[in-house]
Structure formats: structure tokens, C-alpha cells
């Protein structure tokens, strides 16, 4: 049956075999339902795993940091909307940044915000990896994520929205995060990320391209909204069909960009 190994030094985790326990919100469900598939749990007690540290412009968020910690951190107020979109209060005091990076469809809304921010993923063995590459290969990658590294965006540059069927807590029909650099309503550059629109959080480069140089008004964003669908690969699930997700993705992107909600 399931064994638990406690790891006191993050560095040691790189050599251990098993499932890393973050907040337990995904792994413990598996332990409860299919215990034979989780023979070993790695429980990391290294305090660094749960710390938010700042060095210059760069902020390191330990993989074991909870959504509640993110919301409480004055350094991370730009990420609070994405953290608040995860579950209810109990889930948020448990669910971790690291867990969210591996959360399968339709979960993982926080990772969408990290993708828009262009975060770096830091492994326990010291490697770092761009989050986009990380997400593309997460199904097969091995190792323990120690932290994510981000640089805070300009004030109000990161916009996050989550479309759910039920409120206030609901699972994603889609989530969208957009990072905009520019002046006033004119966009210089944009990173557009979608969640629950493919096997993992993904960028819409077509939308980003169309937004570059555009103005944030109904006409200015129309091309980007129309283009975003071409990069997305939604699937049917219990919440919505791929057809529906494709139909409304441009609508929700427009509403997020223009603050129509």
C-alpha cells in the first residue's frame, strides 16, 4: 500500500522515486480512489519549498506555496485574481503552485497566468526551463519542481479571467490570461494564454501577433479575437463541447481585453 517518504532537503528530492505531495488536492484524490497507483508519496518538508522570496526584480515562488499564500503576499497582488480562481477557501489553503503546473485538463488555471507572465520553472536539480516548454512536455518529464521564477509585470498589465458554469466556485470552461505591454490603450506586445482549451495551458500566438500595435477598443481587438481560435485545441468534456469552447473563446477574450465583464 501507499508508503510516505519525508524529504527534508529539496535537493534530495531529485533522487527519490514517487509522487510528490503538494497540497494533496489532486494526489490525495488518487490515493483515496486508486491507492495501488500511488505506491510512494514524497512529502517535502524543506521550508524553502513553501517560501516566496524576492531578489531584485525576480520573485521566486516555492512550488509548495499555496494559493492562499499567493493571495496574502503583497509582492504578488497581480497573481491574486488567478489564485482566487482556484477552488474554494479550503482548496486554496491547500493547493500549491507546483501542483497547478501539473494539473490536468480542465484544471490548472493558475499555470495559465504563469504562462502569460513567461515564468521560468526551476527544478530541484537546479535546471530551469521556460514554462511554455515545460507545459508542452510535462506529461513525460521527470523530476521535482522546486519553484517558479517570475518578474512582476507593470501595474495592471496582467489580466486574468475564468469562465465557469457555476459560481462562485466552478471548474474552467476556459481561463484566459493576457499580459500587455504598451502605453494607454495602445498595445506594444501581448502574451495571450488559454487554459482548458487544449491538453495543457497554451498560448495563442496568432492573437498575440494581431494584438501587437493594436488599440484596445472593439475594432482594435477584433482581429486578435477572431484569430485566437486557430491556435487552440479544445476537447469535449462534461462542462462544454469543443464546439462551444471555440465559439465563445473570441467573445471571452474580447471581454477580458476590453474589461467588459
Amino acid at each position: 500500500m501507499t508508503e510516505v517518504q519525508t524529504i527534508e532537503q529539496l535537493g534530495a528530492a531529485a533522487q527519490a522515486q514517487g509522487h510528490v505531495l503538494g497540497g494533496g488536492t489532486l494526489l490525495m484524490r488518487q490515493v483515496n480512489y486508486t491507492p495501488h497507483q500511488v505506491p510512494n508519496i514524497l512529502r517535502i518538508t524543506d521550508p524553502a519549498f513553501r517560501q516566496i522570496t524576492r531578489a531584485g526584480r525576480q520573485i521566486s515562488i516555492g512550488a509548495g506555496v499555496s494559493m492562499a499564500q499567493i493571495i496574502a503576499s503583497s509582492d504578488l497582488d497581480f497573481l491574486a485574481p488567478a489564485a482566487r480562481a482556484i477552488g474554494g477557501p479550503a482548496i486554496r489553503s491547500m493547493a500549491t503552485v507546483g501542483g497547478n503546473l501539473f494539473a490536468p485538463h480542465p484544471y490548472g488555471d493558475f499555470a495559465v497566468a504563469l504562462l502569460a507572465l513567461g515564468a521560468q520553472v526551476q527544478w530541484a536539480d537546479g535546471r530551469t526551463e521556460d514554462i511554455e516548454a515545460f507545459l508542452a512536455s510535462r506529461e513525460t518529464s521527470k523530476g521535482v519542481v522546486a519553484a517558479v521564477l517570475i518578474e512582476p509585470p507593470q501595474m495592471d498589465a496582467l489580466r486574468f479571467g475564468k469562465v465557469t458554469r457555476t459560481k462562485p466556485k466552478g471548474v474552467s470552461v476556459m481561463s484566459i490570461a493576457v499580459l500587455i505591454t504598451g502605453v494607454g490603450r495602445s498595445v506594444q506586445q501581448a502574451r495571450v494564454a488559454f487554459g482548458a482549451m487544449g491538453p495543457a495551458p497554451m498560448r495563442s500566438k496568432a492573437a498575440e501577433h494581431a494584438l501587437a500595435g493594436a488599440t484596445l477598443d472593439a475594432t482594435g481587438v477584433a482581429a486578435a479575437c477572431a484569430a485566437c481560435v486557430s491556435d487552440l485545441a479544445p476537447v469535449n468534456d462534461a462542462l462544454a463541447s469543443a464546439w462551444y469552447r471555440r465559439e465563445v473563446a473570441p467573445i471571452h477574450l474580447r471581454r477580458l481585453l476590453l474589461g467588459e465583464n
Partner: protein
């Protein structure tokens, strides 16, 4: 397979139990520590019936590894009433007919306590957010939200009714 000892504080009492390493805290509290107030509704973290407070923060005990509760300060609805009298939240739930089958009530009360401990004068939206992870199939929620607001008012001495 050897069981693992775990010690924690449960509703103010030092408690020690032996558990299988993979056991969740909900089962540990119920079967080993004998506190039956948290309920099993899903084992998936989707219903909130097992909500407890760990070090004052709401947690889902079904998704918490029991051995990870070592040295934790755990509160449950079983310990909510200070004595013979009910806690204001309990009294407000009773007076407001905020329970029917009662199965979600323990978890609701813990979610509400986590809110009021941090925010004694919540808005209605804040109450809604606080119980958003707790499902109720009977009441339609409004009586529960009303009861939590009522409890906050009672604690503040703002009793209106």
C-alpha cells in the same frame, strides 16, 4: 504494514493515533480519534463536508494526509460549542432553519468559522465566497448565508431580530 504514530491537538485536546501511512485525515479523525463530526461526501475535495480547521485555516480532511497532521492544531464542529451553550454560528443555523438533512452542516460551520475568525463583519459576497467549496443539496444556500451573517451580527452585538 506498520502503522505510523501521529500526534496533534484536536479541539484543544492532545491526541495520538496510529494510522496507515496513506490514510487521509478524515478517516483518521473519524475512525481512530473518534470525532465523527467531519463527514465523508466524496473523497475528491469537491463537496466540503469534511472541512476542518488546521492551524485556523480551512482544510479538506479527505485530501489531507493523516501523517502530515503531526503537531497540527485541528478544530472541528465536534468542538465548536464551548460547553452546554451553542456557538453563535450553531445557534444562528438552528434559529435560521439553515439545515435540513444536516450532512453538510459540520463542514459549513467550519468554513464559516474560518471566515468569521478572520473577518468578523463579512459582506454577503464574502460569506458566499467562504462557503463556495461546501455543497448543500437541501437548502438552496440562502438560509445558510443568512445564518452566517446573523451569527456575525450576534457576535458583534448587532442582533436585530
Amino acid at each position: 504494514m506498520p502503522k505510523t504514530p501521529v500526534t496533534f491537538t484536536l479541539n484543544g485536546a492532545e491526541t495520538g493515533i496510529f494510522v496507515d501511512p496513506g490514510l487521509n485525515l478524515l478517516e483518521a479523525l473519524r475512525r481512530e480519534a473518534g470525532d465523527l463530526s467531519p463527514k465523508f461526501g466524496c473523497g475528491q475535495g469537491t463537496c466540503g463536508a469534511c472541512t476542518i480547521l488546521i492551524n485556523g485555516e480551512p482544510h479538506l480532511s479527505c485530501l489531507t494526509l493523516a501523517v502530515a497532521a503531526q503537531d497540527a492544531d485541528i478544530s472541528t464542529t465536534g468542538g465548536l460549542a464551548p460547553g452546554a451553550d451553542l456557538h453563535p454560528l450553531q445557534q444562528a443555523f438552528a434559529d435560521g432553519f439553515a439545515a435540513q438533512c444536516g450532512f453538510c452542516t459540520s463542514g459549513m460551520l467550519m468554513a464559516a468559522k474560518a471566515l468569521l475568525d478572520r473577518n468578523p463583519r463579512p459582506t454577503r459576497d464574502e460569506v458566499v465566497e467562504a462557503i463556495s467549496g461546501n455543497l448543500c443539496r437541501c437548502t438552496g444556500y440562502d438560509p445558510i448565508v443568512d445564518a452566517i451573517l446573523d451569527a456575525a451580527a450576534r457576535v458583534q452585538g448587532r442582533v436585530t431580530a
